[in-house]
């Protein structure tokens, strides 16, 4: 019986120990490095190619779950150990702190005074009552209203400030547990998915990341329009989609989303994440016969032979939104009637005169390209996200109060002496001792002045 008791005691002490906390923190830090060095969640053949792994090395590392280590049993167990340690530490220490705050020692005897690193003794004139009243008023004005206890002809004052800052540590610790809880809620009841919507089309299902089955939605999302603007170099600057939420075919919500500004509906959030061309672009050209001066406008899809007056044809081959800083451009070639592609050349939308310099039978100008796009959306459902934010808020508040606020306490005892009245002052702070010492010295000087006036 006593042996079993001592085992559970030892186990409890183990989980409460701060050494365990420090070791767990360092282990979490060191093991986390693995996942940043080995890229996570690649296909087996990618690992063997990229890292030159043999089949057996791959199998060993895979068995150790190194390829998805942040979700591996051993890493999650380490996190779990960390959480258990946090809980046990708090259970062990919290009652003592609550007691300190709720039932403070109101009467400071000589034994307690000896433990203070900040103390001062003053001998003054008057009666115990007059000194008491002066000090109660002074303490109330400068620090906090004191609790007065009268005992055996002596008067004791006790005042405290910032007692709640004692809980900052526990708020911080529980904030970590709250964040874990939020993450678990998100993992169990949430999902991450994606969907591509072609302009003008609507969808009522999304695709889970890494999964094969679509997730049905009980509403539909339509993309009315997709816009993309480019930098001069041709990289996308901003892209946005006009989304409409449909319930039974009825429009219930409209929003233009862009990167950093998603649409939320019924717990699902749609994030602008990518885009791409949907189908072949439609080109419009103006072609001038250089010999006759006759012009014709032609229009058609990529790869088609667009007939020109006189039997020849123009073939659009490709386009760029911004070609070498000259704006929209198309690559075309001419079929002079023999159904063969001529030498490809580039024509510009913003520089209609450019093709005149090429020579040849026709001068071609690009009038425009109509490309319809699909918008690529990340879809996330995370009912735990607000729990995580609550945890983050508590973490910031808790750690700031733990670091920057201090529980300061002042004890005073007033007793009649043979000559005059003896006043003893003592003070303690649970953080920032040097700062408190300065404050305490100032306070006692103020009391000294108040008593001697």
């Amino acid at each position: 019986m006593s042996k079993a008791q001592s085992f559970t005691d030892r186990l409890w002490d183990f989980f409460c120990s701060l050494k365990l906390a420090i070791v767990t923190l360092i282990l979490l830090a060191l093991t986390s490095v693995i996942g940043t060095v080995i890229e996570q969640n690649l296909a087996p053949q990618e690992y063997m190619q990229k890292y030159g792994m043999s089949q057996s090395t791959y199998k060993t590392l895979d068995a150790l779950q190194f390829f998805d280590m942040y979700h591996s049993y051993w890493f999650l167990s380490l996190m779990g150990l960390f959480a258990v340690n946090l809980i046990c530490c708090s259970i062990k220490r919290l009652p003592r702190i609550i007691k300190t705050v709720r039932n403070p020692v109101l009467v400071a005897d000589d034994g307690l005074f000896r433990t203070f690193s900040n103390k001062e003794e003053i001998v003054t004139k008057g009666s115990v009552e007059s000194v008491r009243d002066k000090l109660v008023a002074r303490l109330g004005k400068k620090f906090a209203s004191p609790v007065v206890t009268e005992q055996d002809g002596k008067v004791y004052l006790f005042a405290q400030k910032g007692a709640f800052s004692r809980f900052g540590v526990y708020v911080t610790h529980s904030s970590i547990l709250i964040i874990f809880l939020g993450a678990m809620i998100g993992n169990v009841w949430g999902f991450k998915a994606y969907v591509n919507i072609v302009e003008g089309k609507a969808v009522n299902q999304v695709w889970a990341r890494g999964g094969q089955q679509p997730i049905p939605l009980d509403f539909a999302v339509r993309c009315d329009n997709f816009e993309v603007t480019f930098y001069e170099g041709g990289r996308p600057k901003e892209f946005s989609s006009d989304l409409v939420v449909l319930e039974n075919g009825r429009e219930v919500l409209k929003k233009t989303i862009e990167v950093n500004d998603p649409l939320s509906y019924k717990g699902l959030t749609f994030y602008q994440s990518s885009y791409g061309p949907a189908g072949d672009p439609v080109y419009q050209f103006r072609v001038r016969n250089r010999a006759t001066g006759e012009t014709a406008d032609v229009m058609g899809q990529q790869g088609r032979h667009l007939p020109l007056p006189g039997g020849a044809a123009l073939i659009p081959m490709g386009y760029a939104e911004s070609y070498q800083n000259f704006g929209p451009a198309a690559q075309v070639s001419l079929d002079s009637g023999d159904h063969k592609h001529g030498t490809p050349f580039i024509v510009f939308q913003n520089y209609p005169q450019f093709d005149e310099k090429r020579g040849g039978e026709f001068a071609v100008t690009l009038l425009g390209v109509q490309q319809s796009y699909y918008t690529g959306l990340q879809v996330a459902k995370d009912p735990g996200v607000w729990v995580v934010w609550l945890g983050c808020l508590l973490m910031v508040l808790g750690s700031c109060s733990a670091f920057f606020l201090s529980h300061r306490r002042i004890w005073v005892s007033i007793q009649p002496l043979e000559k005059g009245i003896g006043v003893k002052l003592g003070g303690a702070a649970h953080r920032n001792q040097p700062g408190f010492t300065l404050y305490f010295d100032e306070l006692t000087k103020d009391f000294d002045d108040a008593l001697s006036s």
């Binding site: 701060l18 050494k19 906390a21 420090i22 923190l25 360092i26 979490l28 830090a29 060191l30 986390s32 490095v33 996942g35 940043t36 060095v37 890229e39 996570q40 942040y70 993450a183 991450k192 930098y231 001069e232 170099g233 990289r235 996308p236 600057k237 901003e238 892209f239 862009e258 990167v259 950093n260 500004d261 998603p262 959030t269 994030y271 994440s273 990340q378 879809v379 996330a380 995370d382 996200v385 995580v388 934010w389 983050c392 973490m395 910031v396 750690s399 700031c400 670091f403 920057f404 040097p434």
Partner: protein, 278 residues
């Protein structure tokens, strides 16, 4: 050369001059040398502020998107935090460690391409300046902790070997250095925490997930774990002095890797390549 690049170069030269004065200040008996160093550094800092402002106005984006910009920003945070510490602790000698570090960052930065990058639309968010400012201020405070750690080890070695050079009298006492170490932790840790959290909020609005185990996130978390360990060691197990000093230096080495190593060697959302959508 644009105004902001010109200002950057003048700032760099001022820091260079300040570094020289600091290094002379280490061996010189004259206080005036050290005073000149702190004035030069303060002047350099004002110039640096205008450099960043000019670049911000010129490009319209928080100037922390390329290697050049973020090195300059890091140096700025470092000098700014040092000057605040100087006002509080009056330890000029700390500058003899911090100023050369800032100078080295500026020199590496001056070798990097300076054109304003075409930014990934993801960076167009108010969380961007908030996130980087908190993160870099945290880095800077921990750099001070590491410098105090180095000074602690130097001072302790001189005490143990009983060989006192002039430096001994100009370095702060072991107690002051140790309390600086703790002060830095109490400011650096919340700054770093808020830096990570602001990044998570931003990631959630841009990608739909607050945590993705991106290498930068992971390395920031690794450093966070280490500093949390140091904090608990200090506050509850009673680590101080030498052990805390060594731990602060190791922690900063991890932070430097989080900054350089991850952006340059590891792939992920924080590589500069990704910022510009290449």
């Amino acid at each position: 050369m644009t105004v902001n690049v010109l200002l950057f170069k003048i700032t760099l030269l001022t820091y260079f001059a300040a570094t020289i004065f600091y290094l002379i200040g280490v061996i010189s008996r004259k206080d005036s040398v050290r005073l000149a160093a702190i004035w030069l550094l303060s002047g350099g800092f004002v110039l640096h502020c205008s450099t960043l402002a000019a670049r911000w106005f010129a490009s319209g984006i928080t100037p922390v998107a390329s290697l050049y910009e973020s090195l300059s920003f890091f140096a700025w945070a470092l000098v700014g935090i040092y000057l605040i510490f100087y006002l509080r602790y009056r330890t000029i000698m700390l500058g003899a460690f911090i100023t050369p570090l800032a100078l080295v960052l500026m020199i590496i930065g001056s070798a990097a391409p300076k054109q304003t990058p075409a930014l990934n639309p993801m960076l167009d968010s108010w969380w961007f300046p908030v996130h980087v400012t908190l993160a870099f201020l945290g880095h800077a405070v921990f750099a001070i902790a590491a410098a105090a750690g180095i000074m602690y080890l130097l001072q302790e070695r001189m005490l143990k070997s009983k060989k006192f050079s002039g430096l001994f009298y100009r370095l702060p006492s072991l107690d002051t250095l140790d309390s600086m170490n703790y002060k830095c932790l109490t400011f650096g840790f919340p700054l770093m925490t808020m830096g990570i959290i602001s990044g998570a909020i931003w990631a959630n609005s841009a990608w739909g997930g607050y945590w993705r185990w991106d290498p930068k996130e992971t390395w920031a978390l690794i450093s966070w774990f280490l500093y949390a360990a140091l904090l608990h060691g200090r506050l509850t197990v009673g680590w101080r002095g030498r052990r805390a000093a060594i731990f602060a230096i190791i922690g900063f080495a991890f932070l430097l890797f989080t900054f350089f190593g991850v952006n340059l060697f590891l792939s992920g959302e924080h590589s500069f390549r990704n910022f510009t959508g290449q």
